[in-house]
């Protein structure tokens, strides 16, 4: 932590005496802010101290202590570590002022915290549930909320092996006994009203439109089943002719409450579970989670493991970007041809993953303090061949055929523009942010692992349109190849794991926020430990989820066809978006 940082942080506590105090709990950092001073403090942070980027908002339910906490991670887009704010609020009446007016990117994250933890964000413009359905009873991430078939708070469940016999809890506890209806509720008569509010808000916009031609507007549901939404995602679009007048994303169709399951699991059980977040780049997910837990444990992986991690993460970035470019072209209507050529090299990368991790997509390769396995024979040569020969050639080929294609330029240039101010305000990250002219790459801004050793440029473009997002991805692949070439050149011999491999890690109490520059943007894991074998709180700051906040602003006024291209250029994965 630099000297200047310490200075500004002491400033904050002195500046708001009685309102802001240091978080003195062991293993914790940052400040605890009184709820009524939050907006004022945030304004100071943004306008005077340069913390213009609100990375993550989440909540923690400290049930034994009887309060809840809303946790904020602020960063500067010029680089540097986080500034963490916390607001404590009573469990039975959890109210915290909303930051949407200062940081519009907080919109969906606050909705998520309200949905899952029941923290009411006062002043939020549209505080509806976001991942669960409207009729859901309770807030599942509260520690006293129990699901049907509830057994124990933490895995492994002892009840599953009585006398050495395995049985399924569902056999003992049939379905009907688990359903807990509120009194005077008739499930047969009930109709979900979650769309009523949505359509009403669109109808309001509809009535304000004026057009000299008196054309009819029409509400179209793009999704949940739609080829261009990359999964089960829904956009409710108000159309005037072909022009989009309003757009509301609806998500949660793939929701499985990743975080609740993660809090049941032991630390190491979560490692394969993170693979399922962004299933196209599981190595990066592993990386972020490993960093967070290692921070808590205070260990560092050995040299060879660090190099292997970087190599795998960069290969993941390349394969993800190849996929992103391919599917963007697909969304633009190039019927699968560019896609199939783009993912040809991805197959070879997956071959490498299969060789080292045993699985092509769900790699589960990282361990706390290292990686799971060393390179098998012949893989190093394959990686060298890829990084030095095949990948550069393929990228040049894609560049040649796609970058100056007249139709691609006509379709992408000037479409879905996000200005740098908007991009930062919406907490956009990854290629979406960098295409808007903000050279913010966590590998440079807040280096983790051994990224400070490599020579590479932060890919940045200035127009903030779909075309520049495509170009940024292409640039990033080139930079990743540079990093790979250096890492493969310097890869040292040695152990791959600090200490012995273990099934149960001991994690001291505290909190940690581990974040990596995942291919899709900033992937953060906020982990709170209370010293038990499983995490007390396990939160994922998913880049797809936060990036989608900017979708409506980008889509408004464009054509239907552009919405598809814009969504494709954000590059979402629903496994991560819905969690």
């Amino acid at each position: 932590m630099s000297e200047q940082m310490i200075l500004t942080q002491t400033d904050l506590a002195e500046r708001f005496p009685g309102k802001v105090r240091r978080d003195e709990r062991k293993g914790y950092e940052g400040y605890i802010v009184e709820a009524d001073a939050l907006l004022q403090v945030a304004q100071t942070l943004r306008d005077e101290m340069g913390y213009d980027y609100l990375s993550s908002i989440t909540g923690v339910d400290y049930l034994p202590d009887g309060y809840m906490e809303s946790v904020y991670h602020f960063y500067r887009t010029t680089g540097g570590p986080a500034l963490v704010l916390k607001v404590q609020t009573p469990r039975d009446h959890a109210v915290v002022p909303s930051l949407v007016s200062l940081y519009p990117g907080a919109e969906f994250q606050e909705r998520e915290a309200w949905d899952l933890l029941g923290i009411r964000y006062e002043g939020h413009p549209d505080l509806r549930r976001i991942l669960m359905w409207e009729g859901f009873a309770g807030h599942p991430l509260r520690k006293d909320w129990r699901e049907p078939y509830y057994e124990e708070d933490a895995k492994p469940f002892k009840s599953r092996w009585p006398d050495g016999h395995v049985y399924r809890i569902e056999d003992k506890n049939p379905f009907h006994k688990n359903v807990d209806y509120p009194p005077d509720f008739d499930p047969d008569q009930w109709v979900a009203d979650n769309d009523a509010a949505l359509y009403a808000s669109l109808a309001k916009i509809q009535s304000t439109l004026d057009s000299s031609l008196k054309t009819d507007t029409v509400i179209v549901n793009m999704g949940p089943q739609h080829p261009s939404t990359h999964g089960v995602f829904r956009m409710v679009v108000l159309l005037e002719g072909e022009t989009v007048r309003a757009l509301k994303p609806v998500m949660g169709y793939l929701h499985r409450n990743h975080e609740k399951i993660g809090e049941r699991n032991t630390y190491i059980m979560n490692m394969p579970f993170t693979d399922r977040l962004d299933y196209l780049s599981s190595m990066s997910n592993n990386f972020g989670y490993a960093l967070a837990v290692e921070k808590l444990m205070g260990i560092k992986p050995p040299e060879r493991a660090e190099y292997l991690r970087v190599i795998m993460a960069e290969f993941t970035r390349i394969s993800n970007h190849l996929f992103a470019i391919g599917s963007l072209l697909n969304d633009l209507g190039a019927y699968f041809t560019p896609m199939l050529y783009a993912i040809e090299e991805r197959e070879l990368i997956l071959d490498i993953f299969e060789a080292v991790a045993g699985s092509r997509m769900m790699c589960n390769y990282f361990r706390f303090g290292g990686v799971a396995r060393d390179l098998p024979e012949g893989v190093y040569e394959k990686m060298r061949d890829l990084a030095f020969e095949r990948l550069p050639r393929r990228i040049d080929e894609l560049d040649l055929y796609l970058t100056n294609n007249e139709i691609i330029r006509a379709r992408c240039e000037g479409v879905g523009v996000l200005t740098p101010e908007q991009a930062i305000a919406f907490s956009a990250s990854g290629p979406l942010l960098r295409a808007s002219g903000v050279p913010y790459d966590i590998r440079r801004a807040d280096p983790y692992s051994i990224y400070d050793r490599f020579e590479f440029d932060v890919a940045v473009r200035y127009h903030g349109d779909v075309y520049d997002r495509y170009l940024v991805r292409l640039d990033e692949i080139r930079q990743s190849i540079r990093i790979l070439q250096q890492a493969l050149r310097d890869l040292p011999q040695g152990p791959i794991l600090a200490g012995k491999p273990q099934y149960q890690v001991r994690v001291p109490p505290g909190e940690a926020y581990g974040r990596v520059e995942a291919p899709k943007g900033e992937l953060g894991f906020y982990v709170v430990s209370n010293g038990k074998p499983n995490p007390w709180r396990y939160h994922v700051r998913a880049p797809s989820f936060v990036n989608i906040t900017a979708l409506e602003t980008m889509a408004k006024g464009n054509k239907v066809a552009d919405v598809v291209a814009i969504l494709g250029s954000i590059d979402i994965v629903l496994g991560e978006l819905d969690r």
Binding site: S211, S212, L213, T215, D216
Partner: protein
């Protein structure tokens, strides 16, 4: 003696008339437009039977390809109107019926008294190209050049007028 072409003529005429009747009796506006297409197509086939290929093709291009499609387009854009057909007859229908019958009677009468209606027209001279004649006639100064140009200017004015009407003022 029945000529095969007569059979075709009677069938096509019946279909055309039936379709025309459906246009005014069906309650669904899109369907009415589609019946109209069938009636227009029947007329095109009648042109073919008269060996007037150019008129048949022009009938299909202009009436079906342009006018009918635009009508359907307009009806589809106004869904609410299409769903509410309203009453099919208004109070003046008896007068309209009388006039229609009178006109029909007049035409029948004229055909009866006109002697050339009963006789076959003289066959065209060998090597006569009607299409070429038509084209030359339209651009000859001593024949139809001026009417042709006046019609063109009128259509151009209509075209510009349509653009002006639809122009969205900022």
């Amino acid at each position: 003696m029945i000529y095969p072409l007569q059979v075709v003529f009677i069938l096509v005429s019946a279909v055309t008339l039936g379709a025309a009747l459906m246009v005014v009796t069906t309650r669904n506006m899109v369907r009415a437009a589609l019946w109209l297409v069938l009636a227009l197509f029947g007329v095109a086939i009648l042109f073919v039977l008269l060996e007037a290929g150019f008129f048949a093709v022009a009938q299909v291009i202009i009436y079906i390809g342009a006018i009918a499609i635009l009508m359907i387009f307009a009806v589809m854009l106004t869904r609410r109107i299409a769903q509410d057909p309203g009453p099919q007859l208004n109070s003046t229908w008896p007068i309209a019926a009388v006039i229609a019958l009178l006109v029909f009677g007049l035409i029948v009468f004229l055909v009866q008294v006109w002697d050339r209606a009963a006789s076959l027209p003289p066959p065209l001279p060998q090597g006569f190209a009607p299409l070429q004649e038509l084209g030359v006639a339209l651009v000859s100064a001593d024949r139809y050049l001026i009417p042709f140009e006046i019609a063109s200017v009128l259509l151009l004015a209509a075209l510009i007028g349509a653009i002006v009407v639809a122009w969205e003022r900022k």
